[in-house]
Structure formats: C-alpha cells, structure tokens
Amino acid sequence: MEDVVILKGREQFVRQKGERHQTLPISCGAESVAGCVSQRACVYCGARVVLNPVADALHLVHGPIGCASYTWDIRGSLNSGKSLYREGFSTDMREKDIIFGGETKLAAALDELIPKYQPPVVFVYSTCVVGIIGDDLDAVCKTAAEKYGIPVLPVQSSGFVGTKSIGYQTACDVLFKLIEPPTTKLRLRRRPVINYLGDFNLAGEAWIVRSYLQKIGIDVNVVFTGDSRYEEIRRAANAELNIIQCAGSMFYLAQKLEEAYHIPFMQVSFLGVEDTSDSLRKIARFTNDPEIIRRTEEVIAAELRRVMPEITGYRTALSGKKAAVYVGGGFKAISLIRQFREIGMEVVMVGTQTGRREDYEIIGDIANDGTIILDDANPAELERFMLTQGADLLVGGVKERPLAYKLGIAFVDHNHDRKHPLAGFEGAVNFAHEVYTTICSPVWNAVKGGAVRGDL
C-alpha cells in the first residue's frame, strides 16, 4: 500500500484485505474530496434514475437544459406499454428565470404539458439552481395538482445537497407519498402477492424475475420502479412482502413501508446462479406454503439443468482469470464476488460509489486475502489497483469502460449501458457469455506489448 499515491483525505477510503481475515474499517458515504476526478454523480442523478422508469409519469426537470439533456432516456429501462417516461421535458431556465424566479415558467410548463399529455402523475425535479434561488416548488406543484386533479409531486433534488444516495432517498420519499393504505383482504387471496424493489428493468431483467416468481406461485404486485405505472404504485401496500434487489436505492422505501404498513422486507439478489437460487428459496420459505416450496425446487432444478452446462463451458475457459469490480451499490458488488467464483474467476479489486458500511463488512468477509477494497474511487486509483492486482477484466459503468480498454483490460457494463439481461439464471449465462466474449476476444492480441502488470 505504501507505493500507492492516494489523494490526501482519501486514505480511509481504501483498504487491502489482510492475511488473517481481519476486516478493516473503511470510510464510506462521505462527500467526495474537492478536486477529485470522482466517478460519482449528484442528488438529482440519484432521484432521476430511480424515478425515471415509472413509465406513464411525466418527468419534468425544472432547471437549465443540461440536467434534462444528460438524463433523457439514458437508462435502458424497458417497458411494456405507453412510454411517456422516454420523452425529455425541461423548463429550460434562462437568465431571466434565474433573476426573477422560475415559478412562473414552471407553472406555464405544467399548464402546457398536463392537458397535452394527460399523465396520471407528474414528477417535477428541482436542480441545483432552483435550490439556490428558492423557487417554491411545493406551492407550484400543489396548485397544478388541484387544478388538474392528479398528483404533481415535487422532487427536491438540488444536486449540491448531498451524494447520489440522498437522491435515492428523495425518490423513495416521493414514491411513498403515492402509496395508499392497503385495500384488499390478504386472507382472501389464492396466491401470495409481493413487491419487487430495486429493479429498473434494464434489458428486461424485472420481467425475468417476475416470470420465476409466477412459476413458483407468487404474484408481483409492483416493481419499483422498472416498467411500473402510477396505478400499480398506488396499490403497493397490498403486498405481504417486499423483496429488495438494489438495496442502495430501495432499502429506505422498504423500511418506510414496514413502519407504515407492517410489510416485512428481505434482501435478495438475482445476480448469479447461487444467489438467484438462494433468493427464490428465501422467498418461498417466507410464504410457508409447502406447495410453493416444492415448486421453487422444481423451478431451480429445471433452470440449473438448462443453464449449468453452458456456464460450465465458460468456466473452463475463464478459470483463473482475475476481475476488478467498480459498481454503484454495495450489494451488487457482493453478488458479483460470488458470481465470479461461479465462473472460476477471482475478484482482486472491489469498489463502490455508494456502498454502506454493512456492505463493506460483508465484502471484507467474503473477499479473498489481498483484495483491494475501495469507496468512491477515482480513475487514478482504479488504474493503479487494476494493474498492480493484475486484473483481466473490469466490471463498471460508462466512464470506466474506456479506461479499462486503454489499459488493455476487458470490460463488462453492469450499469445503464448493459445490453443483455444479467439477472436470474438466464442472466447468469449472459453474464458468463459477456465476460467470456470480452476476455477471450482476439482484439487483445493486437494490443502492442499489452499492459505492464505489477510494476507500477
């Protein structure tokens, strides 16, 4: 660790797992250091990515044009019906609005858009400048809501208020406001009904999970927020269990639903064969229904028969390769460590943008000795550790891809730019296939000399 230059103030955010399995404390959840080349985003970004997949909502960004432009249809969240969420709406605040306030323009935009699109719900996002000039978003939204008889919800997401995690929380608060007290009598149902939290249906992943649950005899009430609609969200309190995939964004909502409506929640993960099987079993056990438990084993067995030969094939090719992981949330990082083991690979570096202390503790427990663990890394740190650790592959998001390629390191997008579903059993096959495709591509043979490993 001595030879690694770490920005002053960043020492507490990087750890190397020790020989005797001790878990070293790591700092996380803090603001980034001023002057860093952080891979992190802001409150607005967090709120926007969580709410964006609500498909029939009108998402209006109140601010200068940029915030709307950069987030217009950037998430590959698939949906099955009308797709108003894929249109980009902005109040496009100009200098005059900054000086005299943007409330008039916001009200005018709502008056223009609501009658035209007739959405069942409107989300109005505030951006940095709105927080500074102090537009009364609540008042403008309230007036519009009364005028049109639909919920028009302010999303207080001024970028500077905190990290992306605060944005997740803001989004959860807004979603919670839409949820009404339970209506149906649970006893009268034939099949258990649950909510699936923290899946944004990238490449259709929520559909895959929903299909497994249906096969074992469980209905999904609403997915937060992949392919969701206002009417479904309203009825979220009718579920008897919340399962959470992306805890970083949705743990908070699950807690609120438990407090308000006594809906228990459990953390699940549909990344990798092992985690997917475990999660389905956990959910089945919760129902305490022998028939569901039996069917779950059937589904798992059938899926394993289907996918394992293929995964084993990839495992042979990938055995002994090393992976570096830099993703948004902690829980995904944990799943990825396990998933790489399934395909014979070792994770040698693992980092997250917004992982929580508990996540880092688990990572410390399951990671191999020598693994570098880091929070909110910058490109210089990523580069150094990938090279010193001898990584063959990086898993990350948009900004990490060209960095890895420049180093001659293979890459898999586990973020908005994923092109194949990576969840569930078929996702595990896709994942192995993607890892194989990039690591074993002949293009790396053309790289002159290759990356200089281990001598930095």
């Binding site: 970028g159 948009v398 000399g449």
Partner: protein, 464 residues
Amino acid sequence: MLEYAPKEMIKRDSGGMINPAKTCQPVGAMYAALGIHSCLPHSHGSQGCCSFHRMHLTRHFRDPIMASTSSFTEGASVFGGGANLKTSIKNVFAIYNPDVIAIHTTCLSETIGDDIPTAIRQSEIPEGKVVFHANTPSYQGSHITGFSNMTNAMVTYFSETKLADGKKENFANIIPGFVNPADMREIKRLTEEMGIKYIMFPDTSGVVDSPMTGKFEMYPSGGTMIPELKKTGDAKFTISLGRFASQMAAESLEKKCKIPFVSLKEPIGIKATDEFLMALRGAFATEIPESLECERGQLVDVMTDTHFHFHGKKVAIFGDPDVVTAMTEFCLSLGMLPVHVLTGTPGGALGSGLGGFEQEVKAMLDEAGVCGNVKAAGDLFTLHQWIKNEPVDLLIGNTYGKYIARAEDIPFVRFGFPILDRAIHPYMPVTGYRGALRLIEQISDALLDRCDRDAADEDFELVM
C-alpha cells in the same frame, strides 16, 4: 415510442423544451479545455455536473474523459465555493499533476456569484503551472456557447503581443470550432498542404482520439501548448471557423493583439472548403497546391457521378448551429431540398456579431428557391411535428434523431454531436473535400439502402 408528437402544430409558449436539441455550456467548455495539452478541465459546481459531462463526452468519443470537480456541498452553496475551489486546485496539482487547470463554472456557482479570479489568485499554484477560467452559466446559450467562452478565455488569459511596432509573424491562428478531433486534424492537414504555418486552438486531436498503447495516459500527446497560445498574439491573421463556436475568440484577439480575422463557415462541403482555402490563399499570397486541386476534382467527380441520387430529395437537418449551417449549404449544392433546419442553440442573442442562425439559413434557402422551416432555440418535438406535416426523404443530425427516424421510418445520417450509438465518427472527418466525400457516401448509402429495402422484386437492381 415517440407516439406523442401530433401532426397539428401545438401552441407552445411556456418556453420549456420537449426533447432538447442542445445541452448546457459546461460540457462545451470541458471539451474545449481538453484541446489544451496536459490540461485537466475543472468543473466548479456539484459532482453531478462533472459526472454527466464526462459521461456524455465519454459516450461520444469512447475515450477516457478526465475532469475534476469542486464537489459542492450545501455549505459551499451557502457560504460560497471559493474555499472548495482553492482546495481543488491544491489537490489537483498534488495528485493529478496537469500542466494546466481550466476551470469552468456551472449554473450553481454562477448563481451564488463565486469570484473565480480572486480564488485563483489566492491559490497555491506550483511553479510553471497555469490555472485559468471561463464563466459558463448553464442558463445562457448552449454547449456551443460554453465552447466559445472557454476558447475565448484562452485568448484573454494567454494571447500576448511580443513583437514590437505592430509587426506580425507569418502564420495563421485557426480556431476550428466545436467539431470532432478528426476534423481538427483535417483542417490542419489542409493548411499544411497550403504550406502555411499555423497555430490551432483548441485542438483535441491526439487527446480524445488517442491511440491504444496498453497504457492509460491521463494527458495524451495532443492539444495546444501554452507557449503556442501565448504566441497567437503575434499571428498575421486569424481564421474563425463557425461563428457560434469561434468568432468571439477571434474578435478578442483582434481587440487584444490587433490581429485581423475572417469568420467563415465550418469547412463542411465544397463551397465552405473552397472559402477556407481561398481565405488562406488571400492572406498568405500563396497558391492552392496541386494536391488539393486534385482532392477537389475528385469530390466534383463524385458529385457529378451521383447527383441524380440526391436531386430533389427533401432533407431535415438539425444539430449545432455552425455545422448545421454548413451542412445545409452542402445539401443545397447537391441539389437536395433542406425543408426543415433546426438548432437548439439560441441564435443571435449572445456575444457580438452573432447574426441570427435563422436569417443566415433562410437567406441560403431563399437563394436556392427552397421554401422551408428554419428555427433556432428549437427542440426535437417541433422538428418531429414539422416532419409529420411535410415528410422528408432523409434526416441528418445527432443520435437523438433516431427516435424521429424510427417513428417516421426515414433514412438517417448521423452527424454532429453527440453520437452515442455508433463508433468511429470522431476518427473520420466531415470537413474538407475528403470529408465531403465521406458525407456523400453516408448520404447515398442511407438513401440507396432504403431503395434496395423497399424495392419490389421486379424493381430490385444490381446497378444503381
């Protein structure tokens, strides 16, 4: 998707945007700053701004885009971001060690009124290192304005007159505008072919299209050097390419160092390339070399070989004002009818000498006898409505055009910034005669592929 644009034109007076055709100033400033060698752009605002801009540029160029951020917090926003900026400057030099930090502001730091020059003065700047800034409030203009402001700051900070008695050296300043690195490279090549010495700024070639070496270079070999930027004050002449992105810097150079300038279109298409070379020839009393005569001749040859593919085809063009203006002119020279021309950037409102985009394009259409819709500060909802009312044979614009192309089933040529769904474009110029050849190839491929796709069996032809 995009089932939402109705044919009946809708009255829109809120000033809001539906499906924007522009983005904000800082991303343009960040791109311009990358055109200085060993420069780390610094975003003085929230973390999200920097992250979004890096993401956007990374997706377009498919290269690592480095920039640092002041990481504003609530405290900084209340008490001012000066302290954050000073800490940032210290940290950036300590860990990332660039030669230059180019600070741009954001809507946040502009609104709270941070005094950037004072913060820079109060910062510890290591010997031989440079920090400069541009104000880029996101609520004015567009990303093109931001590019223009950062380019202008290069002049106001660095350009200096060294020679006495109004003497000038025999070289040109070339301000290439907001184009891809390949275009900057091509413009340099044309100038070199003319045998003329030049300084280009900014110059992102060799920075955002750097070669794969198996090593990550935080500061690749490309970019204008600071001594070169200083020397721009001794040039004989400045050529500004693209009024919206480049003219302000040329005007500043004239004011500051008495260097005459000529403001030309981006050299896209035959006429604009001719004008660029003629301007160089005029200023330096040199001749067009045979090599360029030959390139031009080849282009004319291809234009005549293929003109019947284009003639009378209706086309819609959208994107950034400078490249759209030049593209409109080129399409007219091919016999096409640009019936819808739109930019998201507001025209004529800011800076000096910026006559309206709409007037300029309308004048070209009028001269050609084409009746069309032209709009500055427009959005893609409007463009889509226009196309519904008057369908076109071809759409030319950035990636966001794919929604309209799909909804209306129109052949689509990707052109401009950003292109997020195709690769290689930053490596292939659209400027100069060779760039025009490539555009003809793209346009005719798009049109003829469509002919082949739609042809009935009996009309399907081998030779076209």
